[in-house]
């Protein structure tokens, strides 16, 4: 029914004709609109900040959009960008490298962060000071970290090569930032140095929230330290680990600046990750249409990682009897 009819009586007691009230007016009169009105500002902001740029960038991925030729945004070319991407070995190598980098970096940071958190948790004096010191690497901007590690691993004047030469361990410099294995490894080391403390801080928060009763009960039951860790501490920490993993997997692209400074994706694309490739295509080459197509394909990777960690988080919460 499109409209509602209501009977009404006038103040003078005379019978009035039925009044038709629109569905919309009734919606507002009964207060059903309040929640929607309250949500409107945030919807408005989300639309402008997220939805519209997403739609425009999606559209541009079907165009040859070039930043310095704005009119190319209106030239529809169908799936040409995507077809080229699917046939581009450079793109898929960068995609593969990014997946490997994400997997290794996140797991390594998690393991080191967990170890660090367990150690700091055992400290009886000066815990606050150590916690603060532990956060130092997080305070550096990735650009600074990039310069710092570029210098450390420089083949000619770098700290490591100089130390190795002075100690007599080598006579010919190691090309840390060039070698096919060492170059990605140096970036991994820089990234791990910068971000391990994120895991450590989050996991330390989990350890501080860990109730002492189960651990004491385990001790009474004769569990050794490893068994207590494996069956009590670790399951309790799993939600924290997955939350940290999810946050870091979305935040790891911060490493772009670092890679840009250290190797700029080279040499010969040996350290090319999706971020350096997309930035170069979009800004240096100004081919924003193609860069956005790359972005949309790589979003699949982000969604897959996020969904995976979210499911794991839910499973971990169920396991420890947490609220659904």
């Amino acid at each position: 029914m499109a409209e509602t009819i209501e009977d009404g009586i006038s103040l003078e007691g005379r019978i009035s004709y039925p009044v038709r009230e629109s569905r919309l007016r009734r919606f507002f009169r009964l207060g059903h609109a309040a929640p929607y009105i309250l949500v409107l500002p945030s919807l408005f902001i989300v639309t402008f900040v997220v939805a519209i740029p997403l739609v425009i960038s999606l559209w541009s991925s079907f165009t040859p959009y070039n930043l310095v030729r704005p009119w190319t945004l209106y030239h529809y070319i169908g799936f040409r960008n995507y077809l080229r991407l699917f046939n581009s070995s450079d793109f898929w190598w960068a995609f593969g490298r990014t997946v490997v980098f994400l997997t290794v970096a996140l797991n390594l940071e998690m393991l080191l962060g967990l170890g660090l958190a367990l150690l700091v948790n055992k400290i009886t004096a000066g815990k606050r000071a150590v916690r603060t010191i532990m956060m130092f690497p997080m305070m550096f901007s990735p650009i600074l970290v990039g310069f710092q590690f570029k210098y450390i691993f420089n083949d000619n004047v770098g700290l490591i090569n100089n130390a190795l030469t002075s100690l007599g361990f080598m006579h010919y410099p190691i090309a840390w930032l060039v070698n096919a294995i060492l170059a990605p490894l140096t970036i991994l080391i820089a990234e791990t140095w910068m971000s391990t403390s994120v895991f450590a801080i989050l996991l330390l928060a989990g350890l501080l929230a860990l109730p002492s009763e189960p651990l004491e009960a385990a001790k009474v039951d004769g569990c050794n330290a490893w068994q207590a860790f494996r069956h009590i501490t670790l399951p309790f920490l799993m939600p924290f680990i997955y939350i940290a993993m999810t946050i870091r997997s979305l935040d790891v692209a911060r490493a772009y600046d670092m890679v840009k400074i250290m190797t700029d994706g080279g040499p010969a694309q040996r350290t090319e990750l999706l971020w350096t490739l997309i930035a170069r295509t979009g800004y240096e080459d100004a081919r924003m249409g193609m860069a956005n197509a790359m972005g949309y394909v790589s979003i699949l990777l982000s969604i897959a990682v996020t969904v995976y960690f979210y499911r794991k988080l839910m499973a971990a919460r169920s396991y420890m009897g947490g609220a659904e």
Binding site: V68, P173, L177, R287
Partner: protein, 443 residues
């Protein structure tokens, strides 16, 4: 009486000449009047560029205008920012730092300066600098500094009697700065004694690597594109040019990390005395010879760039410049500003800092000034570098140059690191470059 009349005429003529000269100077120094106007500019930042900006208050005083620097970044970040401005269509600034390599891609974003600047003034600039600043017949930038590379060599190595004797014994000729690229390679390999001394180094990435490759390619008689814009850099001349880098790298005549080096890394290495030879820009001359910044100060030799297989120099050249946006609300003020920033005094300031000026007269004047100060090294630098300008050539002045460069240098890297042969790497890059040029013409 006649003599008195002649004297009077002479005096009048002198007065008139002095008057005309003064009037001429006054006219030259009339930068216009723009009281209350704020000129917004985006200028390249960095120590070597910013000294010139100390002259801005002089222009402000002369014109009554104010200059607001709304952005000061390195060239690559500035380029990125300008592209975003073009894309968004929100341009509220008037003057931007530019470069001959970047200029073609901006299309009609910057105005043609010819209608605003008299022929007399333009004729005071180095003709090749003006020619290289012209895109599709439009003077879209006014050059402030020109760049071209020549040889720096370490005299501590080249004057070493033992090294000289060994070289003569091996090659049957005296050790002297190389005149051809083959000789350059031969000497670099011979002189290399890692890890303390390498023959040379080359920029290993970005446009630096593409540019050096292009320079040797042209010296070998090749070029980047033919008249129909088909890539031709994968010709024999190109393969030979790329082989130059491959051979140096394989022979360990360059630091292994050179494939990641930028200009600064090379400059620092040469100043540290760890390179025997370096083909580099004029801006490094003063740095290399300054005892505060260089271990080989006082022992830096200079020579013209080598020639290639075709018996000529590649002469990769470019100019740092200023441009005026088409959206500028006061183009006269903006043009006045860019003229002022490249006038005689500004160019003398650039030249004294060791940069190649863009006004012809400044070359002779600054050389004379250095000679007067008994600084023969810098005077010699200006003499050699000015001579090399005869071979100056920019990269192709096409909008897609940076895109093309970005497919060439990774290909060169892959050949240098042995992942591909020189021919294979250049063929792959040529296929990609062809697609980029094709896309540009389709849109």
């Amino acid at each position: 009486m006649k003599a008195g009349r002649t004297l009077k005429t002479l005096l009048l003529a002198c007065v008139a000449t002095v008057g005309l000269t003064v009037a001429g100077q006054a006219a030259e120094q009339d930068w216009g009047s723009f009281p209350g106007y704020t000129l917004k500019v985006k200028l390249v930042g960095g120590t070597q560029y910013e000294k010139l900006y100390t002259r801005i208050p002089e222009w402000e005083k002369a014109t009554g205008a104010k200059v607001q620097i709304v952005s000061s970044e390195n060239y690559f970040d500035l380029d990125r920012e300008i592209k975003q401005d073009i894309a968004s269509g929100s341009v509220n600034w008037c003057v931007g730092s530019n470069h001959t390599s970047f200029a073609p891609q901006y299309g009609k974003f910057y105005i043609d300066l010819k209608p605003y600047i008299s022929e007399d003034i333009l004729s005071e600039y180095v003709p090749s600098a003006i020619r290289n600043s012209t895109v599709n017949g439009q003077l879209v930038q006014l050059p402030r500094v020109t760049d071209i590379s020549n040889i720096y060599y370490n005299e501590l190595v080249y004057d070493n009697p033992d090294v000289k004797a060994r070289y003569k014994a091996k090659f049957g000729k005296d050790l002297a700065p190389p005149t051809t690229f083959d000789e350059y390679k031969q000497q670099a390999i011979f002189l290399s004694a890692p890890p303390n001394l390498y023959g040379t180094a080359f920029p290993g990435k970005d446009e630096g690597l593409t540019g050096r490759f292009m320079e040797i390619l042209r010296a070998n008689g090749g070029d980047m594109f033919d008249a129909q814009m088909n890539p031709t850099f994968n010709s024999k001349a190109g393969v030979d040019a790329l082989q130059f880098f491959v051979d140096l790298y394989k022979a360990k005549a360059v630091p292994a990390g050179t494939i990641n080096y930028t200009w600064d890394d090379i400059g620092q290495s040469f100043a540290a005395g760890t390179l025997a030879l370096d083909i580099d820009w004029p801006g490094f001359a003063a740095f290399f010879n300054n005892p505060k910044t260089s271990k080989i100060a006082g022992h830096v030799g200079l020579a013209l760039a080598p020639i290639g297989e075709a018996g000529k120099r590649g002469g990769w050249s470019g100019s740092h410049s200023f441009s005026v946006t088409a959206a500028c609300d006061n183009k006269k003020a903006a043009v006045s500003f860019v003229e002022f920033m490249t006038d005689y005094d500004s160019e003398m300031m650039e030249a004294r800092a060791g940069n190649l000026p863009t006004r012809t007269k400044v070359f002779a004047d600054v050389e004379a000034e250095f000679k007067q100060q008994h600084n023969d090294y810098m005077a010699n630098m200006f003499s050699i570098w000015q001579a090399s300008l005869a071979d100056a050539r920019t990269p192709p002045l096409i909008p897609e140059w940076i895109d093309v460069s970005n497919v060439i240098w990774p290909a060169i890297q892959s050949a240098v690191l042995g992942q591909k042969t020189a021919q294979q790497a250049l063929d792959d890059a040529a296929a990609k470059a062809k697609q980029i040029v094709q896309d540009q013409s389709d849109n």
